[in-house]
Assembly symmetry: C2
Homo-oligomer: 474 residues x 2
């Protein structure tokens, strides 16, 4: 049993008063995530400000058998960084570990503390004419350590990859309190098993990421955005094939948006006007960006012409200015807010092969609507990644408990369709607690054995973010 | 002790006569690598033609305690896939596992057997207007399974990444004979620890890769190549900074070549003429490529003008045709042949931060020349990856044994300089046997423990490619 009262005193003694939050009022913002629909009750919240302090805390927790919840910017969507309800987990917030240690614009790298806010890093890179290309709705609050731990994705994965492709080195406090210094600022390094890969996407279950070397790219000097109306998902996928070619590797985003999302966006942001003269069943919001002398307008116009000749595009708006581009992107942001205003709903972040998207959307829509004619489907996503947020708003007539039960059943149905297409139940949000059951149900015995073996190897006492991804073994 | 005679009979019994090579004459090509300077003596060579057959062989080896050497196309440079000299290792060649299982140009993926030759895959992709962008000197003979196992790099890493960035799914026969099916054709998949990362770069020590899902890109429709003469390594690095911006993400290669390599190339291929009017201490061979309507000539000309105004470039040749471009690339290939003709020399594939390249080259050159005034340094490489082949030709006066001893000492000196710049002793070739000592010397105790723990978890009996990367534990 954890020696609960003593550990906060010990940490306070070693790290000072500022490092420990004991009162429930101070803890409020550490026990809920962005969606606001989950709560935990921690043993306490500690806020180290150096890697050495993180190591001290972890060492103490290990000595006292205290379970740990490493925590970033509370923008997770699978309850992976929220403390359990049993009052036995110590939240270790990385928010005070927020220094940029180094920025090398010639090497195109920056070395940062885990608690740095993504947006802050992007701004720091911009000052050196560079960009850190991870782009998320939550970038104003999410922390880079959380982005590493969850292998974050976002809008620009198509061109720049997920966090896994953007991390060159890591510093990690291991579950036994030792510090692993893997902060290499090398673009190419091929020495045996690449240990840092284990921490990317393991959601804090194998150690606490305290620092990272990030890969930068030249800051784009110009970009062009277009919003296009299309007749079908087939047309969207066919247009992607053209765009991937016509835009070379300058295609930054290619977002699928259904009509319903345009409406939700206009509900959430009344200032928004319908972007095209008529309504279309599907829209594509796309962006190309470049440094150097490339005529992006000509590139996009060429693509739009080809798309229209082939009857893939019916109508479209090409942003003539940065302000117009931002207005088009406003739809993408407001539609998320519009969904949130609708309350409890099924959020998913599935993926399928790009070529399977039309058939998957057709079959999943049909099966879900057959099972629940009064629900509403909102399927949007990143076409180039095969990644769909196939979300479901429950029938408004149900009460909250019935809605939840109903959505669970629809999720099962949706995932069963997904299995038929060789899809993934999580393309970017991860497993955490909320996707654990469907994740485990799809692991082969061998995969389960490998995952459990790695967890046991790194964290034999099972104190590091226990119960996330894999269930606690007793 | 291994039950050596029996196992070949058992395998022959199960897989047929074609699958087993017993006679030394038949085994010759399985016991040396590209450089031809290392030999092993296997227990035998077996050639399965399906994943199930690989699994049968591995199961038999495990039952009989026989050590296994998985083998691809013999183009490794660190003796990782060559059998030991003690006659106790069974070579498992993947060469008959050579089917393309699927090619999906809409999903931009292909699913292939491990024994497929890289060049064959590139051609198959080209037929669908796609490209598999891994590009190596050995692409006519190396196998994709070897590329996966060694996390191969090559000429286009700058734009497309190493194998790690190009593999979406894997199929692996585990050391216990079970088959792991991780052949997901998903561009984004974030379900817990990414198991496939462990097999990428672990050089066949954790299992035998039998299949892979590879990421394709649109096949470039146009490219431009330039060979430039520069006054210094500083100028090369500064030009890279300009090129990375002016060429957006269309820069495919940016190779540093010293004058001595131009001479070696002309020695190896007498038809080659000095490419520029005068000789320059350093050259850059660079390429940009694109699909779609981009004016690459204007892009390159803009860069060259900027480079000349800043006195980074002194002179240059821009290939006016595909034939001229091939002629320029001929220097890159012939210089390798020129080195090989010089016999025993120190081959390295180190990396440093890009910003450190000039200071590293200066210090390493000085220290090596101070220690051995009669040796010859040939430092070329991939600037955008910070990856240098800092090779050393020994003094011609020494006999072979003395040359080897001398080169070992110079390698120690070079790696000591490298340590001061936070560099890697292997940016792409891997560790195998030949880089094991310097690799181990630089592992922290924690890293050693993690690497050993993972090996023991996957291969508790230590039969899978033993002694590569990590020493055999007895």
């Amino acid at each position: 049993m954890a020696d609960t009262p003593a550990i906060l005193d010990l940490i306070e003694h070693q790290l000072g008063e500022r490092a420990v939050l004991r009162h429930p009022a101070d803890q409020a913002r550490y026990i809920s995530d962005w969606a606001g629909d989950r709560l935990g009750m921690p043993l306490g919240v500690v806020r180290p400000s150096t890697t050495a302090e993180v190591a001290e805390i972890v060492t103490l927790c290990r000595e006292h058998g205290v379970r740990m919840t490493p925590q970033g910017g509370h923008s997770g969507l699978v309850a992976g960084a929220l403390p359990d309800r049993d009052g036995g987990e110590l939240v270790i917030s990385l928010e005070r570990l927020n220094r940029i240690r180094d920025l090398d614009p010639i090497n195109f790298t920056m070395t940062v503390d885990a608690g740095c806010i993504l947006e802050t890093l992007k701004q720091a890179a911009a000052e050196h004419d560079c960009d850190f290309p991870l782009s998320l709705g939550a970038q104003g609050s999410c922390q880079i350590g959380g982005n590493v731990a969850t292998n974050a994705g976002g809008l620009n994965v198509l061109r720049y990859g997920m966090m896994r492709q953007l991390v060159l080195g890591l510093e990690v406090v291991m579950p036994d309190g030792r510090i692993w210094n893997g902060l290499h600022a090398l673009h190419k390094d091929n020495r045996g098993v690449d240990l840092k890969q284990l921490f990317l996407g393991s959601e804090g279950t194998l150690g606490i990421v305290t620092g990272a070397v990030l890969k930068l790219v030249p800051r784009p000097e110009q970009s062009r955005t277009a919003l296009l109306g299309l007749p079908s998902v087939e047309a969207v996928v066919a247009l992607y094939g053209l765009a991937r070619r016509d835009c070379s590797d300058l295609l930054t985003a290619f977002e699928l948006i259904p009509r319903r999302c345009i409406e939700l966006a206009m509900e959430a942001t009344p200032a928004l006007r319908d972007p095209l003269d008529e309504a279309y069943p599907w829209y594509v919001l796309m962006e190309v960006a470049a440094t150097g002398p490339v005529d992006l307008s000509a590139m996009l116009e060429h693509l739009l012409e080809r798309g229209m000749v082939r009857e893939l595009i019916v109508d479209g708006a090409l942003a003539g200015s940065e302000a117009q581009a931002q207005q088009l992107w406003q739809f993408r942001e407001s539609m998320l807010e519009g969904q949130r205003l609708r309350g409890e709903h099924l959020r998913t972040d599935i993926s399928v092969p790009i070529s399977a998207i039309p058939a998957f959307v057709e079959q999943a829509t049909r099966e879900v609507m057959d099972a629940s004619p009064d629900c509403e489907i909102i399927a949007y996503g990143h076409i180039g990644d095969g990644n769909l947020h196939f979300n479901i708003l429950p029938p408004t007539a149900l009460d909250d408990a019935a809605k939840r039960q109903h959505l669970r059943e629809l999720e099962d149905k949706l995932f069963a369709v997904l299995d038929g297409f060789g899809g993934s139940i999580s393309a970017e949000h991860g497993i955490g607690r909320t996707k654990q059951a469907p994740y485990l149900a799809r692991l082969s015995p061998l995969e389960h054995e490998m995952a459990r073996g790695i967890k046991a190897l790194f964290d034999p006492e099972g104190l590091m973010n226990p119960g996330r991804i894999l269930p606690v073994e007793r």
